[in-house]
Amino acid sequence: MASSPTNTAAATPDTGSPVSTDLLIHLSALSLDTLEPTLANLSAAFSGQTVLVAMPEIAIPQIATSQTAGLGSVPSFANLRLLPYTPAAPSTTNWVLTASDYLNAYKLAQEHNASACLLLGPDSHTMQPESIRSLADATLSSSTDLVVSHYHLGPREGLVNSAILYPLTRALFCTKPRFPLATDLGLSLRMAERLATTAQRFTAANQQDALLWPASEATLAGYTIAETDIPTRITPHPTAADLNALLSQILGSFFTDIDAKAALWQRIRSVQPARTITEPPLPAEQIDVTPMLESFQLAYSNLHEIWALVLPPHTLLGLKRLSIMPPEAFRIADNLWARIVYDFILAYRLRTLNRSHLLGALMPLYLAWVASHLILIQSGVPPERHIEEVAQAFETDKPYFVSRWRWPDRFNP
């Protein structure tokens, strides 16, 4: 990819020590109050080694002012060479990595001859220095192009990822990352270049906050993917409170990516080995799933005709059974959920109905899955085991999806 100059300024503080240009760390959406702990973490993670740290330029004067004023509270991060960059305009998507982050990271890495990049998302100060170090070590190993963080979230966190993003990525792209939309990534230079090329298509169209899907990009390019455990980390919260809008944004981007890479995932077939399941302690308090079940029942009585445009009769029959199921026995079968998601992707591709309507019509079904998942884990089933079963159901039903994708009119069971 052609390089273009960025607005990197002189490093502050620059100690004059030899700089290890192997790794560039890119910090996105850094707030002023998290600046110090973030830099302290990085300094501890790379003690004895000088690394390049790219950060939004709004944060640089804060450090310079504090240090020139001789404020004792600001520690010296002697081993960090700071590179400012102009962040994209604030948007509601700044809780995940966006196209502008990938583009900035690659440009800076290229300008400073770094051989790998570490992209750390918002709230990266909550990561342990050891976690950052292990992410960096995995990235710098010559055999890996993409290192994806594996967070250890609670059983009630990251539910969209568990219900849709992870099983779909695993089934379609035959990759193992548990968090395809992880906010902390390690990239080799060629992986960063590839992502920057993709990102440039969006930024050229003034879509700075477009989402990219690194795992599918790496699979398409034939690059290697690895995972690193990040045991403790507070994952950033979306700023927008509207779940419907968030779901539409994330799934819209994901379904578009699946559509764009149809030629790839149709020809690859492999089953990922089962994961080792850790069983986190379940919270003592139980969640009331009644509102979610009511939402599903309300949707069943109102959105049935819209679902009928998207889902085949067999799936509609399954939903009918669910609508009359007692709350304590409510359970969406894994293969039913897989087919629902597959059929919605197909309808998204075919534009069976307006895409925002389509994703809006998926939300009550997703909430029903969440209710079913919560009921199951409250009965003692480890959440990760259920998520693995869901992912396996997606893998098993992939031939159904491929058939429907190829012959949407002919193949309609």
């Binding site: 809780w95 979230l153 609670g154 009630r156 966190e157 990251g158 539910l159 969209v160 990822n161 298509r201 969006f202 050229a204 169209a205 994952t235 919260h237 979306p238 779940l243 419907n244 968030l246 779901l247 994330i250 578009t256 764009a260 308090e285 139980q286 969640i287 009331d288 799933v289 509102p291 979610m292 009511e294 939402s295 309300l298 949707a299 009585s301 109102n302 959105l303 819209i306 591709r349 075919l350 534009r351 109905l353 307006n354 925002s356 309507h357 809006g360 019509a361 939300m363 009550p364 969440v370």
Partner: protein, 242 residues
Amino acid sequence: MWQQVELALSQSAHRALVTLANFLPGLLALLLAVLILTAIGALLAALLKRLLTAIRFDERLSKNSLVPLDWAPAHGPTLLVTRAVFWANVVLGFLIGISAFDAAYAGNSQMSFFLLPYLTHSVGAILLFIGGTLLARFLARTVLIEAVNARLQYARFLSVGVKWLVLVLTAATVLDHLEIGGTVVDLAFGILFGGIVLTLSLAIGLGSRDIVSRSLEKNVDDVIPSDPGYKPPTTSETLRHF
């Protein structure tokens, strides 16, 4: 007297036949123009489709574009171009036909004076009707899905209300465009539109009582120091979807 009646009748029949004889060629010209241009349009569209498919127009457009183009497989750029050519020919046929129809009459003809505005306005009215119907369906679905996701029990009622609001507005606009009904349409539209709005307002007002009271209760809870024995309700607020 009988002779006068006969004369009046024969003159009247003669005038009617003359008018019909004047009217038919114009109508025939209109129909012929539409049919011929439609056939030409279909032919051009078919040829263009073959040509664009041969040069792989869709693929070239996707490759050369900076912006990722987002076409449904059933609605590619080739199909869009060919359909545009076809319908442009149909519209051209109508325009030529109407001109021929107009030319078939003398400028002071009564028939031309009454019929032509209706003919020309009817094209606009049909477009208005199609647009209004599509808009009504789109808005009805939007409202239905949003209301269901907001867990409003009267979601369908709201959706149907919005649909009929737009349909009534469309019907009134179409009739007004065709200059049919005059003030009766305005009056009927006002009554119907107002009635639907009032019904929806009452429905939303009555149906939202719970939401308003919950909102007020929440505000009161925030202001008043909480009871030590009070336990907050465990709802989906403790879930994290992302």
